[in-house]
Symmetry: C2
Subunit: 219 residues, 2 copies
Amino acid sequence: MEVIIMKELLEGNDKLAAENRAYFASRHILAVNLMGAPGAGKTTLISAIANELKGIRIGVIEGDISSSIDAEFLKKQGIQSAQINTCGECHLDAHVIRQGADCIDIRDSIVFIENVGNLICPAEFDLGEAVRLLAASVPEGDDKPFKYTPMFSYIDVVALTKCDLKEAVGFNSENFLKGLRTLSLVPVFEVSLKKGAQPQGVTFVAQYLLKKYQELDAI
Amino acid sequence: MEVIIMKELLEGNDKLAAENRAYFASRHILAVNLMGAPGAGKTTLISAIANELKGIRIGVIEGDISSSIDAEFLKKQGIQSAQINTCGECHLDAHVIRQGADCIDIRDSIVFIENVGNLICPAEFDLGEAVRLLAASVPEGDDKPFKYTPMFSYIDVVALTKCDLKEAVGFNSENFLKGLRTLSLVPVFEVSLKKGAQPQGVTFVAQYLLKKYQELDAI
């Protein structure tokens, strides 16, 4: 597996993001910037969405501080993926995304950009994506929209993951929504992808992305 | 409540960290840099440790992107705390810590510095602390030491929080330790602080810190 090493943070991120946007559009790719805290269940979510969208080609650009655990996991499922190791950098930027996209080199597809596990810094770097999807997990707590306002203001859609743990951790959905709605009116899809159990709720996330993918044709 | 706003990232962090270290030593303060991902249970851990160490004065410097939810929670327990709002910055630095310390102005105490919820950037900023405590929570997954190597290399001690969820999320302790031990030989204390249940394991974290506090006298 080829692993791309991210060496320096380039200036002019926005200009490169605009170039990425044109690159994705010209290849009929829906690019999805998937963000979330460490352990929010980002890779599991991609895997489950890919299962739902069997007729659609899926690609993944995987960002991690180190390791290629996630890309290898997805490859086993037959998902084409490029691993970017950021060497300590806390987010992906537009420059490395283009390298990652060239590496998987696909067209007519949904490409997930799995960002580094971080609820803060990724919200400052446009990657040229069409959709910003946040995986927020129930065990992180219902107060997170109050505390991480830049991220919860930045996104297009929320997958609230690990909903099977709501009772176990005393998650208050009302409080979560109260915090979110002061910042944003985006849709929230409740998802549970517990190992060995029937997946719950992921169909709606998949349908949301499929609709966005189909809208590419209308542009 | 006074809230300190962090306006700029100063250069020369290490120099300021050394000054903080001298400041804490001269006041007989054990400064504990408590780090962890969003929702790892940092504030709950401080609260539970304070309960265990009733004879010791406790202070808290609270770092958050926004809100003062955590500082207010601790104040209700009678814990003296200063809130630092980082305005989007993803970590605390030595400069704001000194402001926070001046704000609570206590001696002969254990002062927790609750860092911003982030498994990456705080590992680059020495704050002048004596102990680096990581709250790593079970729902984040057992693969985190493989993925966030700078943080897991940076710390002195780990509190593995939310251990009551081990079975529910399929957490593999062996794999967690396998990843950690390639980086570090620090002690790991398993903790469960579920609301309404008897706290488990926090005594050991409290005793560890008490020992470090008592060792200040020997210096």
